[in-house]
Symmetry: C2
Subunit: 337 residues, 2 copies
DNA sequence: CGTCAGGTTTTCCACGTTGTAAAAAGTGCG
DNA sequence: CGCACTTTTTACAACGTGGAAAACCTGACG
């Protein structure tokens, strides 16, 4: 292996522990000893072996973050923020993706690499409450994103129903009467999609507008392609919505693509609202109105909560944080200025 | 800490080493011993401590990958592919981003977390040859992406000049006469942007078309915003190109946005070609013609080369691999079918 | 019954680090 | 010069694992 404390100690003519003390900035080292050791360190190019240090200390200084897809810009941006914030706190982030598949999420939550990391942040899609209850790993876990769980874990999520209501209300306000919802999922009443669907349905009901199943387009996933296909099916089924509220921005991008292919203008013929405020939404021929969760606040809260747990608050009851959100109106609902 | 071999050994009434042997599938263990140990493992929920294992073996089973920006979909897709491929080879990938800043790239190449990882893959932007020559870390390093270095490291890059030529030639072929280049950089003749610029310039020259500086738009970065601003400046300066070849897809997306704002139609008034083939290019009101490097091949080659080095080929001369690329023509140059 | 071969299990140690405790060196004071 | 006290340095053990080699079995064979 590389240069170890032993090598430095030998060269400086002191004990291993003294070198260790210098490296760790221990107070009681005479200036001349410190200098001699430091020179040996520099000459040999010594670098502490983190593996050994971690073994000794029982901590690795690494946390893991798992998101469904790295290629979903929302999660890339979120991961970016977590890495950045954690770096400032001297933690390294191990980034992983689950594909949104339950088995992968369970593996991650169980910490199948747990012994290398101190804690976990997971943004689940399919994970079930029972998976969490059956969890064996003792590494702290923070749940990210919008699913609801009763299992006792720290959880960070915006108020999805309220956010969806805001989006739907905006569409009603600008005069739309047939508002479709794109991106619903089968089953799983607690899933995020259902929360957003509920917000949409509530507003439709309160406004006396239709919210029947014919206006709801189910998708398999959350990609542009899913959005494009779902809207194609919606239109093929004879529906003529004058607005669509999409589960996320990627679906909205796909939706707008299909609308363009069918010769429908956005927002004149169909207004579109997305969710996530990914960078991509601010570009394109028609910029996208979207619900913007405060990603930086989410990332910061998740990291801080996890590190709090690591710092000893092992047994405090789980906390729940609801970061804010904002509706950002752009051309897809209000037209070009 | 958690359950260790010692705990299992105690419970099963055998030595630590026997448990270790069972865990590692050592041949010479009697079935009944193996069974007894296995039961103890199951009952206690033992999981090997990777940190200790790594300390003992001198390997961590982790490699690091640094890209400029995670939020650039090209790199997100690339990282995705590397993670996937490495996982199949039982390696964990530590993902990092440098912001394309030289100091960060140097830090990474030096392996400021090197003692935790076995090897590095770096996609540099600003890194200079001298930085590589001054490198002290002995962890194998593979360079990714299109910059040229003389320092002796494995390097994976497509033929940028040829790729750029293909793109420029396509624009000439469809009859464009004033082709702008967006995304040039100041200085650094070896940088990727210069290679693509050269390809463009060669084709313009060979076709008897202008390639003067007035047609070259310099950008600070590689984002959508950079592309949007650069094209705005280009148009403001009085240029009326009938095509733009962009350094990458993000810049192209920004370019198309500005063109739309200025009332210019794509491809009727201005054809656009990008580079990277990010997913986003396949959507939008006008899909984007682009040069598609074979990302999966790049990811695979990078990972394999690195693991080859780790497997012992320490001193073989550095290799250089040129994965293929393809021009994918879409609506931004050939119109909607 | 002793010996040997081969399979099985154990003992010992090292990987590089740091906490503990204690030894060594230094300081001040009577 | 010796004592009490503080500062500086050291020895040792331990974190959990796996390689090397020794020790222990069992059974076959002379």
């Amino acid at each position: 292996m590389g240069i170890s404390l032993k090598d430095v100690a030998q060269r400086a003519g002191v004990s291993i522990k003294t070198v260790s003390n210098v490296v760790n900035g221990y107070r009681h080292v005479t200036p001349q000893t410190r200098q001699r050791v430091q020179r040996a360190i520099d000459e040999l190019g010594y670098r502490p072996n983190l593996t050994a240090r971690h073994l000794r200390k029982g901590r690795t200084g690494m946390i893991a973050l798992a998101v469904p897809e790295l290629t979903n810009p929302y999660f890339a941006e979120l991961a970016d923020a977590v890495i950045e914030h954690a770096a400032g706190l001297d933690y390294i982030v191990l980034l992983d993706h689950t594909g949104g598949r339950r088995d992968q999420e369970v593996l991650f939550a169980q910490g199948f690499r747990a012994r290398v990391i101190d804690g976990l942040i997971l943004s689940p899609i399919e994970l079930e409450n029972e998976d969490l209850l059956a969890r064996e790993s003792d590494a702290p876990l923070v749940l990210l994103g919008e699913r609801e769980y009763s299992a006792p874990y720290d959880h960070i999520a915006i108020d999805n129903v309220a956010a969806a209501r805001t989006a739907a209300a905006h569409l009603v306000e600008i005069g739309r009467r047939r508002v479709a919802f794109v991106g619903a999922r089968h089953g799983r009443a607690r899933a995020t999609a259902h929360l957003r669907l509920r917000g949409w349905r509530e507003v439709m009901g309160e406004s006396g507008l239709p919210s029947d199943d014919a206006l709801i387009a189910v998708t398999d996933g959350y990609s542009r392609e899913d959005g494009a296909q779902a809207v194609a099916r919606l239109l093929d089924s004879g529906q003529r919505p004058d607005a669509v509220f999409c589960y996320n921005d990627l679906i909205a991008v796909g939706a707008m693509r299909t609308l363009a292919e069918r010769g429908l203008r956005v927002p004149d013929d169909v207004a579109v609202v997305g969710f996530d405020d990914i960078e991509e939404s601010r570009y394109g021929a028609t910029t996208l109105t979207t619900v913007a969760p405060h990603k930086r606040a989410i990332a910061r809260a998740a990291t801080d909560m996890l590190l709090d747990r690591l710092a000893g608050e092992a047994d405090t009851p789980p906390r729940r944080i609801q970061p804010g959100f904002a509706l950002i109106t752009r051309e897809s609902t209000v037209g070009r200025p």
